[in-house]
């Protein structure tokens, strides 16, 4: 469903991705972990064609991104839900309008149908009574949940979540993870979740990929990654400052 082959990307002199290969099977949820600034967001943006690679290919749902026409790319993107790390809510619109925006602009649904859909999604993410607030009036966790609602309301087949739980309190964060799990099972989604919630994330994904210094260090099941003897993985999972990973 998602396949990346030998992806390279530099920004100026900084090599961010150095030969990434990755595959996510249909119906699979994959956690993507790695140090901050190692290129996780950059990798996700390649998958939807927001960034063009220097080298390598991205194939989503049997279509190679770089070969698509404008229209085909839009069609493909409409099947993909992307939650940006910062939410990327439109600040001139309320929570309700933000969530309704893709429906109003891209479907022929009537206003009552839109309203009931939006309200049910907002309820799912636990934002029932905030629909008239503006993004600037929301806490960080609420922004992330609205972004999630705006994505789910379009019923995507593939989801790419960029740190959807980072910076949330433990209760909300666990509730979100449970929500992902539930949505994943119910809608049979395929997806990649960037997350630092270790070990909570391991109970809802089938695979874990670790990105380090522009390369995929390992793609394993959660059990195997937790028992990995690779010193990089072991250090990352334990969160110890001592080890082979250099940080500044």
């Amino acid at each position: 469903m998602i396949s990346v082959e030998d992806l390279w990307k530099s920004f100026g002199r900084q090599e961010v991705l150095r030969g990434i290969s990755l595959a996510v099977e249909p119906g699979e949820f994959m956690a993507l972990v790695g140090m901050s600034g190692c290129g996780k967001s950059v990798l996700l943006k390649h998958l939807v064609g927001l960034i063009e690679p220097d080298r390598g290919r991205v194939v989503m749902a049997q279509k190679e991104i770089s070969s698509l026409s404008r229209r085909e790319l839009d069609e493909l993107r409409s099947r993909i839900g992307f939650v940006f790390q910062g939410g990327a809510l439109f600040d001139s619109l309320t929570v309700f309008e933000n969530t309704a925006f893709p429906l109003r602009e891209k479907t022929r649904l009537r206003e009552p149908a839109i309203r009931s859909k939006v309200m049910s999604v907002l309820e799912q993410v636990g934002l029932k009574n905030t629909e008239n607030k503006y993004p600037a009036q929301l806490s960080g966790g609420m922004v992330k949940r609205v972004a999630l609602a705006r994505t789910l309301v379009r019923a995507p087949e593939i989801v790419l979540f960029d740190e959807p739980t980072t910076g949330l309190d433990p209760i909300v964060s666990n509730a979100m993870l449970r929500l992902f799990d539930e949505v994943h099972r119910r809608l049979k989604l395929t997806g990649i979740l960037v997350s630092h919630e270790i070990p909570e994330i391991f109970s809802i994904v089938q695979k874990v990929a670790m990105l380090h210094e522009g390369k995929i260090v390992a793609v394993e099941t959660p059990e195997r990654i937790q028992n990995s003897r690779n010193p990089i993985i072991a250090q990352f999972l334990s969160g110890s400052p001592e080890g082979p990973i250099e940080y500044r």
Binding site: K45, V48, L50, D74, E75, R77, S78, I80, F82, F84, G86, A88, L89, F90, D91, F101, P102, E105, K106, R154
Partner: protein, 256 residues
């Protein structure tokens, strides 16, 4: 020697490339402004923002511009014994030149800067990427409404500017310096022609397009972070203001 040449060449090619990018940006935005679906709600909002909210500052600058024109023009004309022509002097310099140019400069400072900042923030917050991922063309949502709004609002603002400034000239020329009101307005209607007014309107329409183009472009390709937005805003205002004055010379030689 060779190194200097190649550096100069690289600089020139980079410049040319950027010029091409602004051209493509403009062509796309123009296309989005004339093909459906046009986002009327946003167009109206931008007309209100660019036009109506600039009204106060336009009126204020206009009345003083008209007053100073009369204050300077009257003694000058008197030296050559033709103070009766104060009316045409004030009106023609406003309608052909000062009205369109000054109102465009004021709008650049007031609205152009916030257009650049708003689009720049949407770029840094990835809102533009979010639009694109929804299969919506950001140029249609963000740039086209500004282009249409500026095209509509600028001629109106320039006309308001002219009317108020002519009134300012009346205050000084007639009320303060003791001209006859009938001379002031009578000579004015003798010498101002329709072609002057139409030319001035074309002028301010072209300034409107210029403001929307440069300010949207600067915001759209803004660098990341707060610094990127502030740089984009400053550059938008400086570049637009300079371009208005340069373009003013060329369009004057074209339409008048």
């Amino acid at each position: 020697m060779y190194r200097w040449f190649s550096m100069l060449g690289a600089w020139f090619i980079a410049r040319l490339g950027r010029l091409g990018k602004t051209g493509v940006f403009f062509a796309h935005s123009l296309l989005c402004s004339v093909t459906p679906p046009i986002k009327f709600e946003r167009v109206v909002r931008q007309i209100w923002f660019v036009g109506w909210k600039s009204m106060l500052v336009i009126c204020l600058t206009a009345v003083f511009t008209g007053m100073v024109l009369a204050l300077q023009g009257y003694p000058t004309l008197r030296r050559v014994g033709s103070e009766a022509f104060l009316g045409p002097l004030v009106a023609l310099s406003l309608i052909r030149e000062l009205g369109p140019v000054l109102s465009a400069l004021m709008v650049t400072g007031r609205a152009g800067s916030s257009i650049a900042a708003e689009i720049g923030v949407m770029r840094t917050n990835e809102q533009i990427d979010a639009l694109e991922l929804m299969g919506l063309n950001p140029l249609r949502y963000l740039v086209a409404p500004n282009l249409i709004a500026c095209l509509v609002a600028l001629p109106v603002l320039a006309s308001v500017f002219n009317v108020i400034a002519i009134f300012g000239g009346y205050l000084v020329g007639v009320r303060l310096l003791g001209m006859h009101a009938s001379t002031y307005f009578g000579e004015m209607s003798n010498y101002v022609e329709m072609s002057d007014i139409v030319g001035g309107i074309y002028k301010s329409m072209s300034f409107g397009v210029l403001i929307a183009w440069v300010c949207c472009y600067k915001g759209y390709y803004c660098r990341f972070g707060a610094q990127g937005v502030s740089a984009a805003t400053t550059q938008a205002v400086v570049n637009t203001s300079a371009l208005i004055l340069v373009w003013d010379y060329f369009i004057t030689s074209l339409v008048f």
